[in-house]
Protein backbone atom coordinates (compact mmCIF):
# COMPACT_ATOMS: atom_id res chain seq x y z
CA UNK A 1 0.00 0.00 0.00
CA UNK A 2 2.89 2.36 0.76
CA UNK A 3 4.19 1.63 -2.68
CA UNK A 4 0.85 2.66 -4.16
CA UNK A 5 0.84 5.92 -2.22
CA UNK A 6 4.42 6.58 -3.26
CA UNK A 7 3.52 5.96 -6.91
CA UNK A 8 0.46 8.18 -6.66
CA UNK A 9 2.41 11.03 -5.11
CA UNK A 10 5.03 10.70 -7.81
CA UNK A 11 2.28 10.70 -10.37
CA UNK A 12 0.92 13.97 -9.01
CA UNK A 13 4.40 15.42 -8.82
CA UNK A 14 5.17 14.45 -12.40
CA UNK A 15 1.86 15.84 -13.58
CA UNK A 16 2.57 19.16 -11.88
CA UNK A 17 6.12 19.29 -13.18
CA UNK A 18 5.00 18.37 -16.67
CA UNK A 19 2.13 20.85 -16.68
CA UNK A 20 4.37 23.63 -15.52
CA UNK A 21 6.96 22.79 -18.15
CA UNK A 22 4.51 22.39 -20.99
CA UNK A 23 2.97 25.74 -20.22
CA UNK A 24 6.10 27.71 -19.58
CA UNK A 25 8.46 26.25 -22.15
CA UNK A 26 6.27 27.86 -24.77
CA UNK A 27 6.61 31.11 -22.92
CA UNK A 28 10.39 30.68 -22.67
CA UNK A 29 10.55 29.92 -26.34
CA UNK A 30 8.57 32.98 -27.36
CA UNK A 31 10.45 35.20 -24.98
CA UNK A 32 13.76 33.84 -26.23
CA UNK A 33 12.72 34.26 -29.84
CA UNK A 34 11.70 37.82 -29.08
CA UNK A 35 14.93 38.80 -27.42
CA UNK A 36 17.09 37.11 -30.03
CA UNK A 37 15.28 39.18 -32.64
CA UNK A 38 15.50 42.23 -30.34
CA UNK A 39 11.79 42.23 -29.65
CA UNK A 40 10.10 41.92 -26.31
CA UNK A 41 8.12 38.74 -26.82
CA UNK A 42 4.87 38.29 -24.90
CA UNK A 43 4.45 41.03 -22.32
CA UNK A 44 0.84 42.13 -22.38
CA UNK A 45 -0.88 39.35 -20.40
CA UNK A 46 0.36 39.62 -16.88
CA UNK A 47 3.77 40.83 -15.77
CA UNK A 48 6.33 39.87 -18.42
CA UNK A 49 3.52 38.02 -20.18
CA UNK A 50 3.59 35.30 -17.53
CA UNK A 51 -0.11 34.56 -17.80
CA UNK A 52 0.15 34.17 -21.57
CA UNK A 53 0.33 30.33 -21.46
CA UNK A 54 -2.90 30.28 -19.49
CA UNK A 55 -4.58 32.51 -22.03
CA UNK A 56 -3.29 30.34 -24.88
CA UNK A 57 -4.49 27.20 -23.17
CA UNK A 58 -7.93 28.67 -22.59
CA UNK A 59 -8.12 29.70 -26.21
CA UNK A 60 -7.13 26.26 -27.45
CA UNK A 61 -9.54 24.52 -25.09
CA UNK A 62 -12.48 26.70 -26.03
CA UNK A 63 -12.12 25.94 -29.72
CA UNK A 64 -14.35 23.50 -31.46
CA UNK A 65 -12.86 20.18 -32.49
CA UNK A 66 -13.37 19.85 -36.20
CA UNK A 67 -12.72 16.62 -38.03
CA UNK A 68 -12.09 17.22 -41.72
CA UNK A 69 -14.45 15.43 -44.08
CA UNK A 70 -11.63 13.58 -45.80
CA UNK A 71 -10.04 12.49 -42.53
CA UNK A 72 -9.74 8.93 -41.33
CA UNK A 73 -11.54 9.68 -38.12
CA UNK A 74 -10.19 7.09 -35.65
CA UNK A 75 -6.62 7.68 -36.73
CA UNK A 76 -7.12 11.43 -36.72
CA UNK A 77 -8.48 11.39 -33.18
CA UNK A 78 -6.02 8.83 -31.83
CA UNK A 79 -2.86 10.45 -33.16
CA UNK A 80 -2.55 13.29 -30.59
CA UNK A 81 -3.22 10.88 -27.75
CA UNK A 82 -0.64 8.46 -29.07
CA UNK A 83 1.83 11.33 -29.29
CA UNK A 84 1.14 12.48 -25.75
CA UNK A 85 0.85 9.25 -23.74
CA UNK A 86 4.36 7.83 -24.30
CA UNK A 87 5.89 11.25 -23.72
CA UNK A 88 4.20 11.48 -20.33
CA UNK A 89 4.84 7.84 -19.53
CA UNK A 90 8.58 8.24 -19.97
CA UNK A 91 8.87 10.53 -16.98
CA UNK A 92 8.34 7.45 -14.85
CA UNK A 93 11.85 6.29 -15.62
CA UNK A 94 13.76 9.53 -15.20
CA UNK A 95 15.76 9.96 -11.98
CA UNK A 96 15.66 13.56 -10.83
CA UNK A 97 17.94 12.99 -7.87
CA UNK A 98 19.53 10.31 -5.76
CA UNK A 99 16.61 7.99 -5.10
CA UNK A 100 14.08 10.44 -6.53
CA UNK A 101 12.75 8.28 -9.30
CA UNK A 102 9.13 7.16 -9.60
CA UNK A 103 9.99 3.66 -10.71
CA UNK A 104 13.40 2.10 -10.75
CA UNK A 105 13.89 0.37 -14.09
CA UNK A 106 16.93 -1.68 -14.85
CA UNK A 107 16.45 -0.73 -18.48
CA UNK A 108 15.49 2.91 -18.16
CA UNK A 109 17.48 3.90 -21.20
CA UNK A 110 16.02 1.14 -23.33
CA UNK A 111 12.53 1.94 -22.11
CA UNK A 112 12.88 5.56 -23.13
CA UNK A 113 13.99 4.56 -26.59
CA UNK A 114 11.24 1.98 -26.88
CA UNK A 115 8.45 4.38 -26.02
CA UNK A 116 9.97 7.23 -28.02
CA UNK A 117 9.37 5.01 -31.04
CA UNK A 118 5.67 5.74 -30.71
CA UNK A 119 6.23 9.37 -31.61
CA UNK A 120 7.00 8.47 -35.21
CA UNK A 121 3.90 6.30 -35.41
CA UNK A 122 1.77 9.11 -34.00
CA UNK A 123 3.06 11.54 -36.60
CA UNK A 124 2.42 9.02 -39.36
CA UNK A 125 -1.12 8.50 -38.09
CA UNK A 126 -1.71 12.23 -37.95
CA UNK A 127 -0.30 12.68 -41.42
CA UNK A 128 -2.34 9.89 -42.93
CA UNK A 129 -5.46 10.45 -40.89
CA UNK A 130 -5.78 14.09 -41.83
CA UNK A 131 -6.57 13.21 -45.41
CA UNK A 132 -4.41 16.05 -46.63
CA UNK A 133 -1.47 15.70 -48.98
CA UNK A 134 0.66 18.21 -47.10
CA UNK A 135 0.11 16.30 -43.88
CA UNK A 136 0.97 13.07 -45.62
CA UNK A 137 4.21 14.45 -47.04
CA UNK A 138 5.06 15.80 -43.61
CA UNK A 139 4.36 12.41 -42.05
CA UNK A 140 6.68 10.58 -44.42
CA UNK A 141 9.33 13.21 -43.92
CA UNK A 142 9.18 13.02 -40.16
CA UNK A 143 9.40 9.27 -40.21
CA UNK A 144 12.37 9.15 -42.54
CA UNK A 145 13.99 11.73 -40.31
CA UNK A 146 13.18 9.85 -37.11
CA UNK A 147 14.53 6.58 -38.46
CA UNK A 148 17.65 8.26 -39.77
CA UNK A 149 18.45 9.93 -36.46
CA UNK A 150 17.41 7.13 -34.17
CA UNK A 151 20.28 4.99 -35.42
CA UNK A 152 23.17 7.30 -34.43
CA UNK A 153 21.33 8.19 -31.23
CA UNK A 154 21.11 4.55 -30.18
CA UNK A 155 24.69 3.87 -31.19
CA UNK A 156 26.05 6.78 -29.16
CA UNK A 157 23.87 5.78 -26.23
CA UNK A 158 25.51 2.37 -26.48
CA UNK A 159 28.95 3.97 -26.02
CA UNK A 160 27.75 5.37 -22.71
CA UNK A 161 26.31 2.01 -21.77
CA UNK A 162 29.64 0.41 -22.59
CA UNK A 163 31.53 2.83 -20.37
CA UNK A 164 29.20 2.63 -17.41
CA UNK A 165 28.22 -0.98 -17.90
CA UNK A 166 24.55 -0.48 -17.13
CA UNK A 167 21.31 0.70 -18.67
CA UNK A 168 19.92 1.87 -15.36
CA UNK A 169 19.77 5.65 -15.56
CA UNK A 170 20.43 6.17 -11.83
CA UNK A 171 23.41 3.87 -12.06
CA UNK A 172 24.75 5.81 -15.03
CA UNK A 173 24.55 9.01 -13.01
CA UNK A 174 26.22 7.42 -9.99
CA UNK A 175 29.02 6.35 -12.28
CA UNK A 176 29.75 10.01 -12.97
CA UNK A 177 30.13 11.01 -9.34
CA UNK A 178 32.98 13.24 -8.29
CA UNK A 179 34.01 16.53 -9.85
CA UNK A 180 32.68 17.67 -13.15
CA UNK A 181 35.65 16.12 -14.93
CA UNK A 182 34.06 12.77 -14.24
CA UNK A 183 31.09 13.60 -16.41
CA UNK A 184 30.71 11.65 -19.58
CA UNK A 185 30.85 14.72 -21.77
CA UNK A 186 34.56 15.15 -21.07
CA UNK A 187 37.23 12.84 -22.46
CA UNK A 188 37.85 10.07 -20.01
CA UNK A 189 41.36 8.76 -19.93
CA UNK A 190 40.29 5.50 -18.35
CA UNK A 191 37.68 4.60 -20.92
CA UNK A 192 37.16 6.79 -23.96
CA UNK A 193 38.65 9.99 -25.27
CA UNK A 194 35.85 10.54 -27.73
CA UNK A 195 33.03 11.37 -25.35
CA UNK A 196 32.62 14.99 -26.59
CA UNK A 197 31.90 13.58 -30.02
CA UNK A 198 29.34 11.23 -28.51
CA UNK A 199 27.70 14.10 -26.71
CA UNK A 200 27.55 16.21 -29.85
CA UNK A 201 26.03 13.40 -31.91
CA UNK A 202 23.55 12.54 -29.18
CA UNK A 203 22.49 16.14 -28.70
CA UNK A 204 22.03 16.76 -32.43
CA UNK A 205 20.05 13.54 -32.73
CA UNK A 206 17.82 14.38 -29.80
CA UNK A 207 17.12 17.73 -31.42
CA UNK A 208 16.20 15.97 -34.66
CA UNK A 209 14.16 13.30 -32.87
CA UNK A 210 12.00 15.90 -31.17
CA UNK A 211 11.39 17.59 -34.53
CA UNK A 212 12.85 20.85 -33.40
CA UNK A 213 13.98 23.56 -35.73
CA UNK A 214 16.30 23.55 -37.61
CA UNK A 215 15.13 19.96 -38.13
CA UNK A 216 11.38 20.64 -38.03
CA UNK A 217 10.68 19.35 -41.51
CA UNK A 218 7.42 17.89 -40.31
CA UNK A 219 5.88 21.29 -39.88
CA UNK A 220 7.85 23.27 -42.43
CA UNK A 221 5.37 26.08 -42.73
CA UNK A 222 7.00 27.61 -45.78
CA UNK A 223 6.50 24.41 -47.76
CA UNK A 224 3.80 22.32 -46.10
CA UNK A 225 1.40 24.81 -44.50
CA UNK A 226 1.87 23.35 -41.03
CA UNK A 227 2.85 19.81 -41.94
CA UNK A 228 1.10 17.09 -40.01
CA UNK A 229 -0.51 19.73 -37.79
CA UNK A 230 -2.35 21.37 -40.69
CA UNK A 231 -5.74 19.85 -40.01
CA UNK A 232 -5.53 19.98 -36.24
CA UNK A 233 -7.16 22.81 -34.39
CA UNK A 234 -8.00 23.50 -30.81
CA UNK A 235 -6.86 20.93 -28.31
CA UNK A 236 -5.70 18.46 -30.99
CA UNK A 237 -3.04 20.93 -31.93
CA UNK A 238 -2.51 21.78 -28.27
CA UNK A 239 -1.81 18.17 -27.38
CA UNK A 240 0.70 17.87 -30.19
CA UNK A 241 2.46 20.98 -28.96
CA UNK A 242 2.50 19.67 -25.41
CA UNK A 243 3.84 16.34 -26.62
CA UNK A 244 6.61 18.17 -28.42
CA UNK A 245 7.59 20.04 -25.28
CA UNK A 246 7.35 16.88 -23.19
CA UNK A 247 9.66 15.19 -25.68
CA UNK A 248 12.07 18.09 -25.41
CA UNK A 249 12.12 17.76 -21.63
CA UNK A 250 12.68 14.02 -21.97
CA UNK A 251 15.47 14.47 -24.51
CA UNK A 252 17.25 17.08 -22.44
CA UNK A 253 16.85 15.05 -19.26
CA UNK A 254 18.31 12.05 -21.01
CA UNK A 255 21.25 14.08 -22.32
CA UNK A 256 21.79 15.43 -18.83
CA UNK A 257 21.74 11.97 -17.32
CA UNK A 258 23.95 10.37 -19.93
CA UNK A 259 26.53 13.07 -20.42
CA UNK A 260 26.24 15.87 -17.87
CA UNK A 261 26.22 13.82 -14.73
CA UNK A 262 22.54 14.06 -13.86
CA UNK A 263 22.16 15.36 -10.33
CA UNK A 264 25.91 15.41 -9.64
CA UNK A 265 27.07 18.86 -8.67
CA UNK A 266 30.21 20.17 -10.26
CA UNK A 267 31.62 22.21 -7.36
CA UNK A 268 30.20 20.63 -4.27
CA UNK A 269 27.55 23.24 -3.54
CA UNK A 270 23.78 22.76 -3.84
CA UNK A 271 23.81 19.00 -4.08
CA UNK A 272 20.75 17.19 -5.34
CA UNK A 273 18.13 17.71 -8.00
CA UNK A 274 18.84 21.43 -8.35
CA UNK A 275 21.77 20.69 -10.56
CA UNK A 276 19.71 18.29 -12.60
CA UNK A 277 17.21 21.03 -13.34
CA UNK A 278 19.89 23.64 -13.96
CA UNK A 279 21.58 21.42 -16.51
CA UNK A 280 18.32 20.32 -18.10
CA UNK A 281 17.02 23.83 -18.50
CA UNK A 282 20.35 24.95 -19.88
CA UNK A 283 20.09 22.27 -22.56
CA UNK A 284 16.50 23.29 -23.28
CA UNK A 285 17.64 26.85 -23.58
CA UNK A 286 20.25 25.71 -26.10
CA UNK A 287 17.42 24.11 -28.09
CA UNK A 288 15.60 27.43 -28.15
CA UNK A 289 18.78 29.27 -28.94
CA UNK A 290 19.57 27.03 -31.90
CA UNK A 291 16.03 27.14 -33.15
CA UNK A 292 16.17 30.87 -33.56
CA UNK A 293 19.70 30.89 -34.93
CA UNK A 294 19.68 28.45 -37.81
CA UNK A 295 17.44 28.29 -40.82
CA UNK A 296 15.57 25.09 -41.52
CA UNK A 297 17.59 22.47 -43.37
CA UNK A 298 16.34 20.79 -46.51
CA UNK A 299 15.21 17.18 -46.34
CA UNK A 300 18.15 16.29 -48.49
CA UNK A 301 20.59 18.05 -46.20
CA UNK A 302 18.98 16.49 -43.17
CA UNK A 303 19.26 12.92 -44.44
CA UNK A 304 22.79 13.58 -45.66
CA UNK A 305 23.72 14.83 -42.21
CA UNK A 306 22.50 11.64 -40.68
CA UNK A 307 23.59 9.00 -43.16
CA UNK A 308 26.84 10.57 -44.32
CA UNK A 309 28.12 12.17 -41.14
CA UNK A 310 26.42 11.13 -37.93
CA UNK A 311 26.05 7.41 -38.59
CA UNK A 312 29.63 6.82 -39.77
CA UNK A 313 30.96 8.96 -36.97
CA UNK A 314 28.91 7.20 -34.35
CA UNK A 315 29.98 3.79 -35.65
CA UNK A 316 33.64 4.76 -35.61
CA UNK A 317 33.09 6.24 -32.17
CA UNK A 318 31.60 2.98 -30.98
CA UNK A 319 34.49 0.97 -32.34
CA UNK A 320 37.12 3.27 -30.86
CA UNK A 321 35.35 3.30 -27.51
CA UNK A 322 35.34 -0.48 -27.49
CA UNK A 323 39.01 -0.41 -28.34
CA UNK A 324 39.78 2.06 -25.56
CA UNK A 325 37.91 0.01 -23.03
CA UNK A 326 39.76 -3.11 -24.14
CA UNK A 327 43.19 -1.42 -24.08
CA UNK A 328 42.92 0.38 -20.73
Amino acid sequence: MDELIRLLSYFVGIAAFLGFNLAYLGWVERKGAGHIQRRNGPKEVGPYGLIQPLADGLKLMSKQLIVPAAADKPLYMAAPILAMVPAVLLFVAIPFGEGIVPRQFDFGLLMIFAFAAFAGLAVLMAGWGSGNKYSLIAGTRVVSQNIAFEIPMLITAITVVMITGTMDLSEIVRHQAGGFWHWNIFPRFDSSLLMPVSFLIFYICSMAETNRAPFDLGEAESELVAGYLTEYGGMGFGIFMMAEYANIVIGCSLTTILFLGGWQCPFGILPGPHWFFIKMYFLIWCFVWMRWTFPRVTLWGLLNLSWKYLIPFSLVNLLLTALFIKVF
Partner: protein, 200 residues
Protein backbone atom coordinates in the same frame (compact mmCIF):
# COMPACT_ATOMS: atom_id res chain seq x y z
CA UNK B 1 35.71 12.42 -50.15
CA UNK B 2 38.24 15.23 -50.30
CA UNK B 3 35.92 17.82 -48.85
CA UNK B 4 34.41 15.57 -46.20
CA UNK B 5 36.33 16.70 -43.15
CA UNK B 6 36.73 20.29 -44.24
CA UNK B 7 32.97 20.32 -44.69
CA UNK B 8 32.47 19.22 -41.11
CA UNK B 9 34.92 21.74 -39.73
CA UNK B 10 33.46 24.56 -41.81
CA UNK B 11 29.97 23.58 -40.75
CA UNK B 12 30.82 23.52 -37.07
CA UNK B 13 32.63 26.84 -37.37
CA UNK B 14 29.68 28.50 -39.07
CA UNK B 15 27.34 27.03 -36.45
CA UNK B 16 29.44 28.55 -33.69
CA UNK B 17 29.54 31.92 -35.45
CA UNK B 18 25.78 31.89 -35.88
CA UNK B 19 25.22 31.04 -32.24
CA UNK B 20 27.57 33.86 -31.27
CA UNK B 21 25.63 36.36 -33.33
CA UNK B 22 22.29 35.41 -31.85
CA UNK B 23 23.73 35.40 -28.36
CA UNK B 24 25.07 38.91 -28.88
CA UNK B 25 21.69 40.09 -30.13
CA UNK B 26 19.95 38.38 -27.25
CA UNK B 27 21.90 40.38 -24.71
CA UNK B 28 21.10 43.74 -26.36
CA UNK B 29 18.06 45.74 -25.44
CA UNK B 30 14.95 45.24 -27.56
CA UNK B 31 14.50 48.01 -30.06
CA UNK B 32 10.83 47.57 -30.81
CA UNK B 33 8.21 50.04 -29.66
CA UNK B 34 5.13 48.79 -27.90
CA UNK B 35 2.87 50.27 -30.52
CA UNK B 36 -0.42 51.03 -28.82
CA UNK B 37 1.41 52.36 -25.80
CA UNK B 38 4.13 54.25 -27.59
CA UNK B 39 4.44 55.23 -31.22
CA UNK B 40 7.14 56.38 -33.53
CA UNK B 41 7.31 60.07 -34.47
CA UNK B 42 6.52 60.19 -38.15
CA UNK B 43 9.04 61.78 -40.46
CA UNK B 44 8.10 65.25 -41.68
CA UNK B 45 8.13 64.08 -45.29
CA UNK B 46 5.41 61.53 -44.72
CA UNK B 47 2.44 62.20 -47.00
CA UNK B 48 -0.76 61.50 -45.17
CA UNK B 49 -4.10 63.11 -45.88
CA UNK B 50 -4.07 66.85 -46.56
CA UNK B 51 -4.70 69.45 -43.94
CA UNK B 52 -5.01 73.20 -43.81
CA UNK B 53 -1.91 74.97 -42.61
CA UNK B 54 -2.05 77.44 -39.77
CA UNK B 55 -0.54 80.81 -40.54
CA UNK B 56 1.39 81.77 -37.42
CA UNK B 57 0.69 85.47 -37.96
CA UNK B 58 -3.05 85.34 -38.29
CA UNK B 59 -3.60 82.11 -36.36
CA UNK B 60 -5.77 80.74 -39.10
CA UNK B 61 -5.48 79.30 -42.56
CA UNK B 62 -4.57 81.19 -45.67
CA UNK B 63 -7.11 79.59 -47.97
CA UNK B 64 -8.65 82.03 -50.42
CA UNK B 65 -11.38 79.63 -51.52
CA UNK B 66 -10.24 79.75 -55.09
CA UNK B 67 -11.33 76.15 -55.62
CA UNK B 68 -8.21 75.14 -57.52
CA UNK B 69 -7.70 72.16 -55.24
CA UNK B 70 -11.23 70.91 -55.79
CA UNK B 71 -10.88 71.48 -59.54
CA UNK B 72 -7.55 69.72 -59.73
CA UNK B 73 -8.62 66.74 -57.70
CA UNK B 74 -8.87 63.73 -60.02
CA UNK B 75 -11.15 61.88 -57.60
CA UNK B 76 -13.35 64.85 -56.76
CA UNK B 77 -12.72 64.29 -53.10
CA UNK B 78 -12.67 67.92 -52.10
CA UNK B 79 -15.73 70.09 -51.59
CA UNK B 80 -15.32 73.75 -50.71
CA UNK B 81 -17.95 76.15 -49.53
CA UNK B 82 -17.34 79.84 -48.95
CA UNK B 83 -19.23 83.04 -48.41
CA UNK B 84 -18.67 86.75 -48.55
CA UNK B 85 -18.40 88.56 -45.26
CA UNK B 86 -18.51 92.32 -45.04
CA UNK B 87 -15.22 93.85 -44.08
CA UNK B 88 -13.15 90.90 -45.22
CA UNK B 89 -11.18 90.86 -48.37
CA UNK B 90 -12.04 87.99 -50.66
CA UNK B 91 -14.24 85.07 -49.85
CA UNK B 92 -14.32 83.39 -46.45
CA UNK B 93 -14.02 79.59 -46.26
CA UNK B 94 -16.97 78.09 -44.45
CA UNK B 95 -16.23 74.39 -44.94
CA UNK B 96 -13.43 72.39 -46.49
CA UNK B 97 -14.53 68.77 -46.78
CA UNK B 98 -12.12 66.05 -47.79
CA UNK B 99 -13.59 62.65 -48.57
CA UNK B 100 -10.56 60.54 -47.65
CA UNK B 101 -12.25 57.33 -48.74
CA UNK B 102 -11.77 58.30 -52.37
CA UNK B 103 -8.54 60.23 -52.02
CA UNK B 104 -5.60 58.64 -53.73
CA UNK B 105 -3.03 60.88 -52.07
CA UNK B 106 -1.84 62.12 -55.47
CA UNK B 107 -1.02 65.54 -54.15
CA UNK B 108 -2.54 67.52 -57.02
CA UNK B 109 -4.40 69.72 -54.55
CA UNK B 110 -1.20 70.65 -52.77
CA UNK B 111 0.48 71.35 -56.13
CA UNK B 112 -2.37 73.52 -57.24
CA UNK B 113 -2.71 75.60 -54.12
CA UNK B 114 -1.42 79.08 -54.91
CA UNK B 115 -1.32 80.45 -51.35
CA UNK B 116 0.14 77.18 -50.02
CA UNK B 117 -2.73 76.82 -47.64
CA UNK B 118 -2.79 73.02 -47.61
CA UNK B 119 -0.13 70.41 -47.07
CA UNK B 120 0.17 66.73 -46.21
CA UNK B 121 -0.38 65.81 -42.60
CA UNK B 122 1.58 63.23 -40.60
CA UNK B 123 -1.44 61.26 -39.50
CA UNK B 124 -0.71 57.58 -40.26
CA UNK B 125 -2.70 55.52 -37.83
CA UNK B 126 -6.17 56.19 -39.12
CA UNK B 127 -8.48 53.35 -38.31
CA UNK B 128 -12.20 53.06 -38.00
CA UNK B 129 -15.02 50.71 -38.75
CA UNK B 130 -17.24 53.40 -40.21
CA UNK B 131 -16.90 55.08 -43.54
CA UNK B 132 -18.13 58.39 -42.17
CA UNK B 133 -15.06 58.70 -40.01
CA UNK B 134 -12.98 59.32 -43.09
CA UNK B 135 -14.88 62.31 -44.32
CA UNK B 136 -12.92 65.10 -42.77
CA UNK B 137 -13.88 68.70 -42.32
CA UNK B 138 -10.45 70.20 -42.53
CA UNK B 139 -11.55 73.52 -41.20
CA UNK B 140 -12.84 71.92 -38.04
CA UNK B 141 -9.73 69.85 -37.78
CA UNK B 142 -7.68 73.01 -37.98
CA UNK B 143 -9.81 74.76 -35.34
CA UNK B 144 -11.26 72.02 -33.20
CA UNK B 145 -12.40 74.52 -30.59
CA UNK B 146 -14.48 76.44 -33.11
CA UNK B 147 -13.80 78.36 -36.26
CA UNK B 148 -12.85 81.98 -35.37
CA UNK B 149 -14.73 84.80 -36.87
CA UNK B 150 -12.91 86.31 -39.81
CA UNK B 151 -11.02 89.47 -38.90
CA UNK B 152 -12.88 92.51 -40.09
CA UNK B 153 -10.75 95.34 -41.43
CA UNK B 154 -12.47 98.59 -40.27
CA UNK B 155 -11.03 100.65 -43.10
CA UNK B 156 -12.12 98.13 -45.59
CA UNK B 157 -15.47 97.98 -43.86
CA UNK B 158 -15.75 101.75 -43.99
CA UNK B 159 -14.64 101.79 -47.56
CA UNK B 160 -17.03 99.07 -48.34
CA UNK B 161 -19.77 100.85 -46.50
CA UNK B 162 -18.96 104.03 -48.35
CA UNK B 163 -18.85 102.11 -51.50
CA UNK B 164 -22.07 100.50 -50.64
CA UNK B 165 -23.55 103.77 -49.62
CA UNK B 166 -22.25 105.30 -52.79
CA UNK B 167 -23.60 102.46 -54.72
CA UNK B 168 -26.88 102.74 -52.91
CA UNK B 169 -26.93 106.44 -53.52
CA UNK B 170 -26.01 105.87 -57.08
CA UNK B 171 -28.69 103.30 -57.33
CA UNK B 172 -31.12 105.60 -55.66
CA UNK B 173 -30.11 108.38 -58.00
CA UNK B 174 -30.38 106.05 -60.86
CA UNK B 175 -33.71 104.92 -59.64
CA UNK B 176 -34.80 108.46 -59.12
CA UNK B 177 -33.52 109.36 -62.52
CA UNK B 178 -35.27 106.42 -63.99
CA UNK B 179 -38.42 107.34 -62.21
CA UNK B 180 -38.08 110.89 -63.33
CA UNK B 181 -37.41 109.75 -66.78
CA UNK B 182 -40.37 107.51 -66.67
CA UNK B 183 -42.49 110.31 -65.43
CA UNK B 184 -41.17 112.54 -68.13
CA UNK B 185 -41.77 109.85 -70.67
CA UNK B 186 -45.23 109.39 -69.41
CA UNK B 187 -45.76 113.10 -69.50
CA UNK B 188 -44.32 113.25 -72.92
CA UNK B 189 -46.53 110.50 -74.03
CA UNK B 190 -49.41 112.21 -72.57
CA UNK B 191 -48.30 115.43 -74.20
CA UNK B 192 -47.77 113.57 -77.41
CA UNK B 193 -51.15 112.23 -77.18
CA UNK B 194 -52.33 115.62 -76.49
CA UNK B 195 -50.48 116.99 -79.40
CA UNK B 196 -51.74 114.19 -81.46
CA UNK B 197 -55.07 114.96 -80.28
CA UNK B 198 -54.32 118.49 -81.01
CA UNK B 199 -53.06 117.57 -84.42
CA UNK B 200 -56.14 115.61 -85.06
Amino acid sequence: MSGYFTNIIDGLKSLAIGLGITNREFLKKPITLQYPHEALKMTPRYRGHIELLKNPETGTHTCISCGMCANGCPSKSITIKSKKVPGVKGKVLTSYILDFTTCSLCGQCVENCKPAAIDFSNAYNLASTRKEDFIFNLLERLHPEGVPEPVVDPELLKKEKEKKAAAAQKAAEKKAAAEKKAAEDAAAEKGGEATAEEKS
